[in-house]
Amino acid sequence: MRRAVTAGILILMVAGAASAQWVDVPLPGVPRDRNGKPNLAAATPKTADGKPDLSGVWKNLDAKYLNDLASDGVQVSFTPWGAALYKERQETFSRGRPSESCLPHGIPDAMMVPAAPFKIIQTPGVVAILYENQNRFRQIFTDGRGFPKEMTPAWIGYSVGKWNGDTFVVETRGFNDSSWLDDGGHPHSDELHLTERFRRPNFGRLDYEITVEDPKAYTKPWTASIRFEFLPDTEIMEWVCENERDAARSVGK
């Protein structure tokens, strides 16, 4: 059986290399062993200024965080408004969630869709995140600016980042109240303030921590920790939402 599985994987690799420009691209800059296999345990790559380089294609491995950001027993303390909204969403099995109508996932759930990885491009001045899910992008400004005085309400807000040692700390404000924090329906208001911490302890691993503060929805901040895995030799592909039937078919109970 093991031999058959190995053969299958080899066939996939060989056939894939011959036919797929998207999912088996031997990308430069990936440390490899003698057989060309990516060495994901290699050291964290660094940028010219000595910071960890977060660049690469990353994937959440566990769908539970898409369904419930507070998996792993995170204690979430709701305000009455937040509790009522969450209860309603839970009771209707998340009927009305934005992506049901091709509207965006927000932060962090655009990164939580396991079938749709995301790509980080780290440059001086800005770190860009390209989400395969719905092909949206996000800019995290690292040129030292603060938040603008006036911000138009946005699905993914306005993000500024700075390095704290080896941890990239991103603060985001300026949200509208339209996105959900997860498909399970953890709500937020336009007072949402997110703090994300990214750390790349080795080549293949990205540790992510997100703290949710929203005095309208939660009585105190809460934090979820998630691990992303480097996805070698693949690119982000086109993803246009053109055939979504969920909203029309959703019964919700």
Binding site: A4, V5, A7, G8, I9, L10, I11, L12, M13, V14, A15, G16, A18, S19, A20, W22, V23, A63, L66, N67, T92, F93, S94, R95, R97, S99, E100, C102, H105, V113, P114, A115, A116, E132, N133, D183, G184, T234, M237, W239, V240, C241, E242, N243, E244, R245, D246, R249, S250, V251, G252
Partner: protein, 135 residues
């Protein structure tokens, strides 16, 4: 030939990860009924290789023997592509067996858990977030 290899390769990968739920971006329970598992065999009449989820239409007979055209929802095209599926892995006229769950709205829409080819190969290309582990 290459296509066959891809399917076999993809199948092996699918077997390796078979214990993990294959993922959609939305909740299963708002649309599909975990108390209505369904299995049927028929012929592919149409393939929609579109985001956010593929649809494969299958002519088959329902439990009462009536001819129906099932709309079978599968995974996201890019995710399937990375598993080795291609747009023409299933072609019009192909015989196919489907295991999945019926929609709650009473339509002939099915959330696929597994696709079984005539020779018995099983492709996991489901969109079964929140669905029970076994139909």
């Amino acid at each position: 030939m290459r296509r066959e290899s891809l399917i076999v390769g993809g199948l092996c990968v699918a077997l390796l990860v078979g214990a993990l739920p294959l993922i959609a971006h939305h909740s299963f329970a708002a649309e599909y009924d975990s108390n209505k598992p369904i299995k049927f065999t028929g012929k592919v009449t149409k393939v929609e290789w579109l985001n956010p989820h593929i649809y494969v239409y299958v002519d088959a007979k329902d439990e009462s023997g009536k001819n129906v055209n099932y709309a079978v929802e599968g995974g996201a095209p890019n995710g399937l592509f990375r598993q080795g599926w291609r747009k023409d892995t299933l072609k019009i006229g192909d015989p196919i067996s489907v295991e999945g769950f019926l929609a709650k709205d009473g339509s002939n829409t099915v959330n696929a858990r597994a696709w079984v080819l005539p020779d018995g190969r099983k492709l996991f290309g489901a969109n079964n977030e929140g669905a029970p582990a076994n139909p």
